[in-house]
């Protein structure tokens, strides 16, 4: 495949192709719905993501959890607090390293997550209602793979793009 030629914008670009806007739109709606659905889960979608990783993956420590989700550690602190208060997870001292805490899900946490996942899956279908059924799965899959690639290549600052002005030199008064 030859290089991407970003200078040739598909003529349709004017309306449908605001990728950033579109992503924001979909994500916003996803948030609205999920936040509504998971209102009694301690921190809504935040708690959901964390609980999901705790349940589905054997996560060594809080730090690893933060890295896995690409969120700040200080967020983890209070979300885990509240998830623990709700009896969904437990913070146990790591016998190997007493600085670290192992975060493990309780049985109740697993049940709650299972129910939450059912609801979220349903909500997602609704959010993507504008797409025919089979394309929803494609979209989810592509999003997941794009996100994983991004997460794997963590260093956000890739200087391959020069930082020069988009504005013309301001001689043409219009």
């Amino acid at each position: 495949m030859s290089v991407t030629d970003p200078c040739e914008l598909p003529a349709d670009r004017k309306r449908g192709s605001n990728f950033g806007w579109s992503l924001g739109m979909v994500l916003r709606r996803w948030h609205e719905r999920v936040e509504e659905l998971l209102k009694d889960l301690p921190h809504g979608s935040r708690g959901y993501h964390i609980l999901a990783v705790v349940v589905h993956e054997e996560v060594p420590t809080q730090g690893a959890l933060a890295a896995r989700l690409a969120i700040d550690r200080s967020v983890l602190t209070y979300v885990i607090d509240d998830l623990a208060n709700a009896g969904l997870i437990e913070r146990r001292p790591d016998p190997q390293d007493r600085r670290a805490r192992r975060v493990v899900a309780t049985e109740r946490g697993r049940q709650t997550l299972a129910e939450a996942e059912r609801r979220v899956a349903h909500a997602e279908d609704h959010v993507l209602g504008g797409l025919p059924e089979e394309q929803r799965e494609v979209f989810r899959d592509l999003a997941g793979r794009a996100a994983e690639a991004i997460h794997a290549a963590a260093p956000a600052t890739d200087p391959c793009v020069a930082a020069q002005s988009v504005l013309p030199p301001a001689d043409q008064t219009s």
Copy 2:
């Protein structure tokens, strides 16, 4: 970085329940890059979206612009202020309705947008670098169509999903 090996994600459950996270991840990265690229455009990606609509679509008024982008009017006020100060757009009184302002792009605004779009397209290719080339276009297209459908069906509060607890009936003591 000792024990954790965050890349060991057995594939069976890593996707399917973290669509929201994936979207957030992609969008965050998009933001980082675009905000970097458009740092001399008055409000970064915000100004970019607004300018794009002003240039590409004949938008009657600020209110219509806000509705088109699904953003708050109060945001439009100051972003348009700064875009106008930068000489990219103009606010003209609507001859039909002197409450309303027509927002039109200047020639400079058009040029700036064209340049910005080139850069953004390039950045987007980079953000989606984890996907093979042809799937990027699919992803963009799906996102665009999903977003438009969402935007068309604006009323966010659709009570088709009951708001009941995800938590089991609390048999555990605290």
